[in-house]
Amino acid sequence: LDPGRHDGTGSLLKIGGKAATSPAENYHLARRRTLQVVVSALLTECGFESAEKAAVETLTEMMQSYITEIGRCAKAYCEHTARSIPTLSDTVVTLIEMGFKADTLPVYAKRSQRMVITAPPVTNAPVTPKALSAGQKRTHPAHIPGHFPEFPDPHTYIKTPTFREPVSDYQVVREKAASQRRDVERALTRFMAKTGETHSLFKDDITAFPLIAAQPSTIPYLSALLPSELELQTLEETDSSEQDDQTDSENAAGNIISDDPGADKENSMLPPGGVVPSAKASEDNVIDNPYLRPVKKPKVRRKK
């Protein structure tokens, strides 16, 4: 993830927090403080001498919501009329819509007892973090005028290609594969050792080299002779990949030829999985082997 974006969201969550340092946060805090001053001034105007912090806070919140709503609404009206910047009339309509008598406003603004508050400190407006630009933005097709808004980034509506420069160095790849496998194996065996019985090679530190305890099995030859599922899986994979390599291995076959007939023989003698030729398989149906014959029913005793 991009660290910049991450910070942005973080600041919103941390409003009111003590350690606010980023410019965006500062900006927001300054605004908020101004609002508080305004609320306090209004309260004084109304004759309050003091107010609880919570009350001020609530009022500030209400004020902020109100102003925000005016802004949002005004923006909506303006966009409704296909403009992009709100005008005075938009705001007026908004105020009216919100039940505020707009014509009273000039009078109120000019009241005598109003307090003048100091201008809010100038803070830099937060820079809207740049949207992640990924890939090339599309140019407008010919039938769309050039002044129309640009297309958004393709990742927002087409796809997000998140590839990184692949590590192509063979050595690093092997290294990584090897250590990854080793780590997995070690973690797995450690886990198994911790959850079950173990042998220890040392008397002083039983946990040093934990060996999973040997468990006798009832039919030990099965696991010792049958290939594990993992092996079968790799066998399948290599079998299928071999078809791609076919040409390759045919070329290589010439190189393998050697003067050891034994090994050569074996090469050719190992059919994959001992598959019986299919022609033979069909003959199987007619094989007359005494062990395949049906078991006879017992003879009915004739005598007695």
Binding site: A178, P220, E266, G273, I287
Partner: protein, 1195 residues
Amino acid sequence: MNRKKDKAFESPLHITYLHCFSIVAFTTHQVVCINNINFQRKSVIGFVELTIFPTVVNLNRIKLNSKQCRIYRVRVNELEAPFIYNDPTLEVCHHESKQRNLNYFSSAYTAAVSAVDPDAGHGELVIKVPSELWKQDDLKVLKVYIEFSLDQPKGGLHFVVPDVEGSMAERGAHVFSFGYQNSTRFWFPCVDSYSELCTWKLEFTVDASMVAVSCGDLVETIYTPDMRKKTFHYVLPIPTAAPNISLSVGPFEILVDPYMHEVTHFCLPQLLPLLKHSMSYLHEIFEFYEEILTCRYPYACFKTVFVDEAYVQVSSYASMSIFSTNLLHSAMIIDQTPLTRRCLAQALAQQFFGCFISRMSWADEWVLKGISGYIYGLYLKKTFGVNEYRHWIKEELDKIVEYELKMGGVLLHPTFSGVKEKDNPTPHLHFSIKHPHTLSWEYYKMFQCKAHLVMRLIENRISMEFMLQVFNKLLSLASTASSQKYQSHMWSQMLLSTHAFLKSISNVSGKDIGPLIKQWVDQSAVVKFFGSFAFNRKRNVLELEIRQDYTSSGTQKYVGPIKVTVQELDGSFNHTLQIEENSLKHDIPCHSKSRRNKKKKIPLMNGEEVDMDLSAMDADSPLLWIRIDPDMSILRKVEFEQADFMWQYQLRYERDVVAQEESISALEKFPTPASRLALTDILEQEQCFYKVRMQACFCLAKIANAMVSTWQGPPAMKSLFTRMFCCKSCPNIVKTNNFLSFQSYFLQKTMPVAMALLRDVQNLCPKDVLNFILDLIKYNDNRKNKFSDNFYRAELIEALTNSLTPAISINNEVRTVDNLNADVRLILEEITRFLNMEKLLPSFRNTITVSCLSAIRQLQKNGHIPSDASLFKSYAEYGHFVDVRVAALEALVDYTRVERSSADLQWLLNMVQNDPAHYVRHKILGMLCKNPPFNKATDSALCNEALVDQLWKLMNSGTSHDWRLRCDAVNLYYTLFGLTRPSCLPLPELGLVLNLKEKKAVLNPTIKPELGVSSVMDTNYFIKTPSMGLKRKAETPLGSPPEPGQVLQQQEEDARGGRYKIRFNTMEDEDIDMETVHDSQAFIHHHLNLLERPSTPGKEPPSVEQSMLSMPATPVPSFPKETTSSSSKHGAEHGHHHHHHHHHEHKKKKKKHKHKHKHKHKHESKEKDRERDNSHAYSNSPASGRSLRSPSLSD
């Protein structure tokens, strides 16, 4: 049978009659019907029916073989017949015997085996033919019907019943017959001889979910009326000996061979895919044998059965073979493939010679083993190539030579001229070779090895064509005979004897191979040559000197031709020299002048012409290398001296793999840069046989270690390995595995193992090498490989093991994790991970675990981690894969030796007695012999009386159900204590003999068999313990009044009381040579009459003389009648102790007493005694019990 008759039987004269028994009757047909097999109880019930043709009138008794069977009834032609069942091999020496010397045991054991030897007409089961049947004059066919059962058999049949939920079929429970040599008597009564042929009808009723596989043709399978079981009916029309009959029952998966529909394969559930793959090759072996023998496979069908916990890897029976299920493998396994094919080929070769053609007698065994081994060799040559074949021959030759030089000769064709023990043809052995059952397993393996090598020698002599013609002739004769109806002279054509074989050879080839047979078959031992040479420049002659050592044990003198091949500059020349009595020197004229044409190519033996760099050779001599007996046509060891450069030339340019291997072993003694170069070149040479290259790896490691101070460059083989197997771009990373080229694969496996043997100047494995191996493990990647890498990984662990060197230990501190050496920590890390991963993803045959266990033991032994046996014990338990168990047991045996742990030795011996797997029991004893906790030459705290007694008991009675195991126990006893009385035993009573004449005291040579206590007898003898008056001279100084005769004494100390002991004064009589038991037995007989008289007060001759025959029997102490009740068991055992105390007491009193046991017991009561006496002995009470009660006996 009345007593008179009994007496008659006791006379030695009668032996002749009994020896002739084998021709007084013939079995022509036998029915075996097993109608109940209970897997839960491990029991079997059935009957047999033998059809017997008497050839003499008055055939009044029939002897059959039967062991451990419980016999319920015997009927002859529908008439109840009394019978007696006695097996002297159950307990060889009676356990009260204090005898502990092996000489004594061996002869007693041989006597016991002879006493039931079917070839001599003996047997454990004696049936009395009802008089109605034999009193007529005409010869009538007898039908002997025997009902029997087996309960938890310890031998003969093996039940494998996994302890899981489900029905027996779901559990994969199965049962199969097994045994060493003729062991069929263990599971049904028969004439258990290879020379007694008959036709068979076999019926087995088994659970409907099971299959019964047996010999012959399956005629039909029928459900029982309740439809829950089915009966398999087999018919074997080809006359077959009982030992070739077998059975296996289990929920087998059935595979009909796709190439040969008469061949059916059986394996245990879930293994069918493996079976399909492993058997896909069998038809080629069939074709090969049928082609070379020009003879069809003799049986109508063939069955292979793969079982768990097999006794041996391969065992062949008539028309079927039983294999270990561990031979099955998938297509991903490289290493197992040739091994399995070899086993199949062996089994099939034995079908022709061994099953179809059987042997005439034990002395002819070598012919059958020889022929089957020889044709198996031909198969190896065809399938695996000439290189592999020659390599194998060399390996076998080296093996037999090593064995014979170490143990003394192996005799192929023993002839026993007389009954006398003195005629023992192999006095150097601690066992008798008179019977297969007394042979040590190791010896028997060597015997087979020698047999096929001798066949090869015969082939060298008469050519292969003639050889194959002889085989063909033997087979055709046999198959003609087999199709005949019973006619004794015809069927005997199916039995092969040494004589018939030699006659056939001389008929076919017209050559006289007499001297060859005399040298290698009738005589034991091998030849040992020492060769050296000098080149005489003036005469241009090679002066070759060939000396022989024929005085050390296992060697013999060779006289005759010998081939010498000399490679000169101008070519290779064969010379045949005559080795004669006194000529050592042989002059061989050379063909080439030394180095005239430097540029010329040098012709080799095979016609090839090569360029050689001749700068290394001696400028004055045209000789490149010399080989003595290059074709291995003498069973010999050659130690030949030639210069290092000659060996190097031989390695580089001689094309024969045997020569290459010889030169590699010779080069070990020449650690020079030139040797290094020659070895490295051969390693890189891809045309070179891979096993030679593998051997070169190890030699290179040895040379590198010898040259450690001057070695230049990277560690040996490292750059080579990098070049061959590592990535071009990053030389420290091995390529991802691709084992398509098997030679490379084997080399890749071997090189790290050899490299790890390298040592630097501090005698440590170089850091480079260790890191290199660790990297190989780290970067090992098998994902793209179509073969499994489990053997490769196992070898890498072995490499780690090889890299270990002893830890530097200060003051024997306890090994802790903290003071673990950093390198060892890395190694241990890998081993831990491997061993743990194996639990999650087990490898084929658990090779990884096997390697890890030996690595851990090595770490312990070198003092890196605390020595501890518990890990190995847990892996050795029943329930682990057998290879793992054996590896763990090997570590334990080693631990026992190093730590001298008596508890662990006990643990091992306990397993020998109780483990369900026969192979494991055999293996433990074998490993203990190879790596004994102590031996006869060393003193050890382990060597004590209790151990002697325990082992004695083990071989005496504890192993009576397994011939092989008993011989293993004998071997162990021999290894630990030697032939004589173990030194740790207290001296027997007469420890000091004072010789007044010479006025000195001498230690009684306790080696001599003690006569006084008990002895063993041969058939027809009742052993009588000799009683001799004490020599006064010896007695008097000891202050003990001589007690004449016997004293009947109440034993007050006896808690059970009321038992009487007959005390005898007995002492070895100087006048009589008691060197051997035989002599002692002769002596016994000499005194028989004297002792026959019931002169013992309080000891009455047993009144129930029911024995119809004198039985071969072991001596039993005599008890007064009241003790024959069940308490006699205790009586017997405690009596033993009792003697002991008593002796000591009397020693103090300086009184010399010895007990005498009079063995005038009836064998029935012996039987009873023994049965209760001995928990090891199989109880066979119903048999004997019945015969006791049998009314017909009292007539």
